[in-house]
Symmetry: D2
Subunit: 364 residues, 4 copies
Amino acid sequence: MGAETIKRIGILTGGGDCPGLNAVIRAVAKSAMNGGLEVIGIADGYLGLIENRLQPLGWRDVSNILTLGGTILGSCNKANPSRYAVREGDRWVYHDVRDQVVEHYHQAKLDALVVIGGDGTMSGAHTLTDRGVKIIGVPKTIDNDLWGTDVTFGHDTAVATATDALDKIHTTAASHHRVMVVELMGRYAGWLALHAGLASGADVILIPEIPFDLEKVARRCIERRDVGKGFTIIAAGEGAMPVGGEAIVDHVVEDSPDPIRLGGVAKYVADRIEQMTDLDSRAIVLGHVQRGGTPTAFDRILATMFGHHAFELLEAGQFGRLVVQREGRFDSVELAEVADKVRTVPPDCPALQAARAVGTSFGD
Amino acid sequence: MGAETIKRIGILTGGGDCPGLNAVIRAVAKSAMNGGLEVIGIADGYLGLIENRLQPLGWRDVSNILTLGGTILGSCNKANPSRYAVREGDRWVYHDVRDQVVEHYHQAKLDALVVIGGDGTMSGAHTLTDRGVKIIGVPKTIDNDLWGTDVTFGHDTAVATATDALDKIHTTAASHHRVMVVELMGRYAGWLALHAGLASGADVILIPEIPFDLEKVARRCIERRDVGKGFTIIAAGEGAMPVGGEAIVDHVVEDSPDPIRLGGVAKYVADRIEQMTDLDSRAIVLGHVQRGGTPTAFDRILATMFGHHAFELLEAGQFGRLVVQREGRFDSVELAEVADKVRTVPPDCPALQAARAVGTSFGD
Amino acid sequence: MGAETIKRIGILTGGGDCPGLNAVIRAVAKSAMNGGLEVIGIADGYLGLIENRLQPLGWRDVSNILTLGGTILGSCNKANPSRYAVREGDRWVYHDVRDQVVEHYHQAKLDALVVIGGDGTMSGAHTLTDRGVKIIGVPKTIDNDLWGTDVTFGHDTAVATATDALDKIHTTAASHHRVMVVELMGRYAGWLALHAGLASGADVILIPEIPFDLEKVARRCIERRDVGKGFTIIAAGEGAMPVGGEAIVDHVVEDSPDPIRLGGVAKYVADRIEQMTDLDSRAIVLGHVQRGGTPTAFDRILATMFGHHAFELLEAGQFGRLVVQREGRFDSVELAEVADKVRTVPPDCPALQAARAVGTSFGD
Amino acid sequence: MGAETIKRIGILTGGGDCPGLNAVIRAVAKSAMNGGLEVIGIADGYLGLIENRLQPLGWRDVSNILTLGGTILGSCNKANPSRYAVREGDRWVYHDVRDQVVEHYHQAKLDALVVIGGDGTMSGAHTLTDRGVKIIGVPKTIDNDLWGTDVTFGHDTAVATATDALDKIHTTAASHHRVMVVELMGRYAGWLALHAGLASGADVILIPEIPFDLEKVARRCIERRDVGKGFTIIAAGEGAMPVGGEAIVDHVVEDSPDPIRLGGVAKYVADRIEQMTDLDSRAIVLGHVQRGGTPTAFDRILATMFGHHAFELLEAGQFGRLVVQREGRFDSVELAEVADKVRTVPPDCPALQAARAVGTSFGD
């Protein structure tokens, strides 16, 4: 089925905040408008389709948004069409609202949807393609862990922000001869901690893929002190875990659509190091700062190219697919293929090997 | 007693890390060397005088350090000459080591000391002037709360870092319709939260000087939602406290030279807001990032002028004094005068009034 | 005459671009709206009053503009009410259009104007107060050279941008053993070159207030090479001039409202140095980059306080005055007082003296 | 021949300044030292080999340099071993000094050289491999135009710097309704102008690969004005040229190793636009700022991986080769292969196509 039948498209952004979302929205909308299509903005991810909050997007709406963090459309973490979390009294109840979504999609006379989001959003998209909704997915995650693509926009900005924080903390650590443990995002994959750690010259990098041995981490701190470097910088992904242990859970929210919150690996490591050595240690949790801000030039370019390629798929009538970049080329894969898969850091990753070569410890 | 007798000076930096320390060291050292003096660098604050770790500083040592965060001399939080904390077995014991300090001072043939530090460091300096050590103090605090001076270097950089973080968090808050509570430094005075909050357009600013009413804070969040702004940004100084309550203590370290650690006001406020409203809330603790990094141009200039003015006091033989800037002019005050005083935000502070005028809530 | 009669005010921005303009607009508008006033935005400086282009400003218009460079109202360099430049055929003709301006002012039922601008804009404002227009001026210049105030918003951002460029050029100069001459803004006053030069540790600073001797500048470059530092960084204000010479005029635009364009001092100095020594030299002209960009936290705070103080003058009914900051306090002066005066760098300026003390040459 | 014979290596950096040089030096040196090799730093590119200025590099020398712009080894543009430019009287004479270079190489008991540089430096390297010097090349160019590799370190930082400048200029252009033409580096290839233009949303991008038609550029400016956007941003690579014309030569230095200096395309375009339309136009030349500064996180990672891969080639005994990255993988090519070839922007480049899709004009 060709693009000749496509006259009007909707755009939505789902899941957590990510720098470059607006750049994708702009690229899809401008490409589409230049190609003669009408563009509709859907508010707050799938929630806008559930609650029928849709508005036309014009030139003015997508002008001057290239440098803005966040998403002009709004987003939502809890609105999966096949499992929509609603608070009823003191607990959450889950509904399948796909009928509603499809009805609003047709009511608005949409011929296709461009869905920008992460793993959860793409699973949601996949359940809609089964109902005949024509969808093109654009991958989004600051964690860079979406399966099927080598790179996602937003990651470079998150790495830049985390690197900047690590650079700043470096001076305090050095002046005070301290061990500083900095917790970065990354539940399932360590890309962010690996890249920011490598970029800032962290002495130790802890990632979910490589369980760490606290003895070895402590020994590295001591060794550094013994050669006259009183400080050690440790970059830790939030999903990093000790050998034989489990990821550190900050707290569990009873009866919630998102019950488990990781967090606390930095405090865990800093406390143990302080006990095992006589070194002054501190934990820092960088948190949401990593998700926000003006995208880097790299991410603005990448996001624009992702958005443009989504439009090319639209024109080619290739629906039910996710835009990806692999081996330096843009391509696409089936939405079904990416569901529930995480791209983790492989042992032969060049960045990992380069980090080891310059002397970085992974605690293993 | 004139500067004609001054041939050789020592420099030390005490207390927490602060952007611009190296700029002061460079300005003092270059001014002094251009004036024909010898300059000795003292390692790790008073600890270097206690342990006799002193080294000559030359042109090469102070070249290219203007942009560096931290201090090339190192610092120490625990080494007050009249109350030096030493770990003995499982507890801390305090010693008066002023004799030792004075002995090392004379041994090194120092004619004067330039001491760069905060309140604690200046108290230490004061106890040494009583023993005949000629000292000139340079005030240092990112909190801007040192009594006697209108402004201290490092504060502008800390405000810039905090503002940048608040700007980044803004996009996430807006995209997800969340209440974001960001905890900034400031135990006793709210300058950093006030300035960063004003600079970033925070909706609510909480500072130690103005106890906050949680009801009013929650109401502001609700009011914003009701006019279509689903998000609220709250900048909270770590020493902010509820009306009738106390500053929130994160934990108490038993038997420590620094027993009480504040922290947790952001989590306290975020949790309460979430309970009192149906708004999704998150806490972020910015932490040590605020202390580090390359100083802003403003702080490099200010630090250089502070350092230069310290040299002018040296030349004028005016010892036992602290360099200050008041009403736009450099001046000096007695070290004795500033001890144990904190400069808090007064109710008629122009920044505070401007914040109120543009609609910022202080929770009162 | 009290503020009780003020119901509706206009805001305009005149002259060159300056970071912080939107922060002033926001502060005036929000303060005024919170005070129950109506606010009208005037497009493109006085041009909007001449051509009657006025629009109400509401909460939405001034939301989210605190971090934006430029001015949401637009500006214009050529529209002085008493001397409005209009192109007629191949030449410029000047008109007195004050009657028109006053008519549009009354037509829009404005009770007062807040005029944000530099020297030219304030001269224009002064000629309107004579006709009964109630004006409060807010000073604006990245050059920091407006008479009557110690500081103007925008300058800190310009200094930060120039310092960042000088920092970047430093590494190239050092790697290639070159003399780099960087031309910064500042026709009549050297504040920008002085502050950015001091903040970046420039080896030589050339400013309009201190005519430079090329021999001395060249000698400094040679001396540095001879002690093993093959490179020299020179920060030059565009109005800097050789001893006995004149400011370097890039070109003269015949028959123009702005006939003389300075520029070229960097190339002049770099070429002469290369002739006088065997050192490789390069000129860089930073240009308009200095005027743009997101204001620093410092400038956002300062601009907000300036805007708020303008509102306080409005409330107090003190018209025909310019908001100033002197010796750390907000105050105001007569518009008439500031006309045609420039605040230059005095010989006893602390920044100048600090620069000399650390060894910076001013070519004198 | 295996790496078992390699005991001692030299490192040199040649050609223009580039962010990330120190990150490569650090990665090569740390990898080599961790692998048991000795490392010698060669001063000022080939000049150090000609003049026998070599020094051992230790852990301390390569510590804390990851974030530094420039090169700690120094560089030189004029020292090609087979064509070494020497000033004799009033002219330049060229010498083949390869014998001298090879002698010093053997004298220092070097077993291999890591040569970091651009096209000219690699040509020089190639002429030395013919004499038995074992060389591994690491490609360096902010222009990203080295043949054989998809990406070079330094380019991302240059794009970030240029994008930041374009962002800043945007606000001035918009406030004053001006055409702003910004000249960026790129003599033979338009990667920098293309990427920075795309990242900043420039309205027009001019690159050497696509001759521009001034009529079309002017028309775009007029069209924008007619839909209410009074300003236009034009990003121009310095080698961009009009249809049927030639690259604009700023000046020719008679009898020089580097006789032709491009430059002036921005002024050329701005002047013509002002003549052809009634729009106020300005030219800005960004210049050397693009070469300097702290490398971005991306470039620090890339440079570290390039340096590490150079060490892997050393270990594998694969000499006479250049490290490259192609299709997302590290690999190597013969030095001979890359000589005198430039990688230009192809018509089907995804970034170029994305720029066209969002409406950017290339003046064609």
